[in-house]
Amino acid sequence: MTSDYLLKTDNLFKWFPKRSGIFGRTIDHLKAVDGVSIDIKRGETLGLVGESGCGKTTLGRTILRLTDPSNGSITVDGVDISRLKGRRLKPFRRKMQMVFQDPYASLDPRQNVRSALLEPMLIHHIASSKNEANNLAEELMEKVGLNPDHLARFPHEFSGGQRQRIAIALALAVQPSFIVLDEPTSSLDVSVQSQILALLRNLQKDLGLTYMFISHNLAVIRQMCNRAAVMYLGRVVELAPTERLFTNPKYPYTKALLSSVPIPDPSKRKELHVLQGDVPSPVAVPNACRFRTRCSFATDKCATIAPSMVELEPEHWIECHYDIDFNRTSQVDITRN
């Protein structure tokens, strides 16, 4: 209803069946996305943080309908797109695009840049003439900081950072309002990363874009995002404005994550908080609270009742029993560590 939300997901699920036996019977499910409800405001950059296997990439792909959701809904500009297909989905494809992690594999190696940029314009009838399309292509190159004279070149003639710029230009070619950035700088050199991040910030300002920024790199999330959601085993466990998340995390996993990140300052050396054990398999998700197998504060309640999202402070949500039951059970004060 509120038009300042560009995109909403409501209890979104994506389960992958695990088949076995000669008849391919489904014996189990890989619960990649296990009930995610988030809203993305127009013009904001929402960060999605988590380690490998937490489902952040699958969530991004599901939102973009690159894969069909198993359950739940995705609402874009007020329309539920979770079950749309083919021609009815096509106009929404213009609104949302994705930039992938690997700049080497996200471009067709046999297609030169001009042809690649003109293709989306052709598919969505964006330009009215070949001339106009070419002009638009040149503008896009300049917008992402590349030389329009290089339109005739092929992907292998560009460096990794330049290829990522091309990928961004391709995403912009359909004039979207929403872009999912899936680890856009993780494969790039450090000195190039900051260039690309600066470009993304500028583009957002100039074109009024909304971003979903997926990354396992907490430092980059802090630089780029307004709000950040922490994912664990397919669910969002903490959601807050970025600065608040980093200065005052409330969920045990978030705290462990933050204290595991090395800091480029030797004077701030600390005992890195070592989270014991490994992430459980998304096929065998612990019941009730999924983090309880590694949580130092877990109680019996955590094994029997599934926690729900609670707004501890304005805009700061966690999915945990404690801190709210403070008064009642007050066994462990998570804020003290």
């Binding site: 380690e51 050199d189 994550l257 204290s259 990140v261 480029p264 030797p266």
Partner: protein, 377 residues
């Protein structure tokens, strides 16, 4: 039994690389990967070798260990390990060096472990490859274990007593039966697996690589390196492919190992934060050159080389919201590298001389070396 740390830490150089020049002959041309690298590592120190992709840090480590691909040519330079030049060794000598003195751990344990052998068999394989070298170690370790039991219980039962006698005579004779060796190798392997903080060494011993998680595999690789008690351990991007919480475990392990063993470690990484967390000294590489070397606090507090400064200013931090800047341009093509100082096309402070000659490494303050004309010749 802890692997004993020498009480007297000498400040001698375990490794000294001088003027190492390596070129790769490829279809596209000659890649001048290393442009006269000078590097030294002291005994028991943890040196961080930092740089972006293509700067030559992996090539340096492969040169040390003698594992360069066939199209690589070592144009000049020497690599002295405790005084012996590794580059002039024969293949056989190099093999023995890799077995005893230098070990390397790579980034992706899944591809560097044999998928059809258990971890245990891969570790014991190292031990049994050259039993002459490892025999004394195995015997001493087992004897030490028995001695510990003796200390705890006050005495030994008959079985252990006979074992102790057998081992002692084997130690004298420097000989032991094959089955006995296997048994002792297994015990030693379990001990090493425990020392890399693997929670269930028995289970890991019997497991295949695909059954373990990334972090456990990496620890197993480190264990395989430490089994040799090498003088030098090269860790090439060992935490890069790991999740941040697992990376923290591995870095914590490195910190603890540093306290416990004598081995010098070169930690190769592109992540300055990792370097800040665990290293004693840092060497920064750019496009085949060492551009700055300093103690870790000094480097971060007072970076001298424009590249180091640019790099530090461009990395995002998780502990504070800081304004990021970036270094313009991109890493040069090493087939046609820039003349003189290879960083000059991107350097905000470059002047005429920078394009003409490569600056030497100058000591600006004790222990802090830079290769830049801003600080001397």
């Amino acid at each position: 039994m802890k692997m004993l740390k020498s009480e007297n830490r000498k400040n001698t150089d375990v490794l000294k690389i001088s003027n190492l020049n390596v070129t790769f002959h490829t279809y596209a041309g000659d890649v001048k990967a290393l442009n006269g690298v000078d590097l030294s590592v002291k005994k028991s120190e943890l040196l961080g070798l930092v740089g972006e992709s293509g700067c030559g840090k992996s090539v340096t480590s492969l040169s040390i260990v003698g594992l360069l691909p066939p199209n690589a040519e070592i144009i000049s330079g020497e690599v002295l390990l405790d005084g012996t030049n590794l580059l002039t060794m024969t293949k056989e000598e190099m093999r023995r060096t890799r077995l005893q003195d230098v070990a390397i751990v790579f980034q992706d344990p899944l591809t560097y472990l044999n998928p059809v052998l258990t971890i245990g068999s891969q570790i014991t394989e190292i031990i049994t490859v050259d039993t002459k070298i490892f025999l004394p170690r195995l015997l001493e370790h087992r004897l030490h274990e028995i001695a510990q039991v003796q200390n705890e219980n006050g005495k030994l039962d008959a079985k252990l007593l006979t074992e102790q006698e057998q081992l002692n005579s084997a130690l004298q004779a420097s000989k032991l039966g094959k089955n006995e060796i296997k048994r002792l190798a297994r015990k030693y392997a379990l001990f090493i697996l425990r020392s890399v903080r693997l929670p269930d060494p028995e289970k890991v011993f019997k497991a295949y690589p695909f059954e373990l998680s990334g972090g456990m595999r990496q620890r197993a690789m480190i264990a395989m390196a430490l089994v040799r008690r090498p003088k030098l351990l090269l860790a090439d991007e060992i935490s890069t492919a790991l999740d941040v919480t697992v990376q923290a475990q591995i870095l914590q392990l490195l910190k603890e190992l540093k306290r416990e063993i004598d081995t010098s470690i070169i930690l190769i990484t592109h992540d300055l934060a990792v370097v800040a967390e665990v290293c004693d000294r840092v060497a920064v590489m750019y496009a085949g050159d060492i551009v700055e070397v300093a103690d870790v606090e000094e480097l971060f507090k007072n970076p001298l080389h424009p590249y180091t400064r640019g790099l530090l200013a461009s990395i995002p931090r998780a502990d504070a919201l800081v304004e990021q800047t970036s270094i313009g341009g991109s890493v040069p093509n090493l087939i046609y590298p820039p003349s003189g100082c290879r960083f000059h096309p991107r350097c905000p402070k470059a002047f005429a001389k920078c394009a003409q000659a490569k600056p030497n490494l100058v000591e600006v303050s004790p222990g802090h070396i830079v290769s830049c004309f801003l600080y001397g010749e």
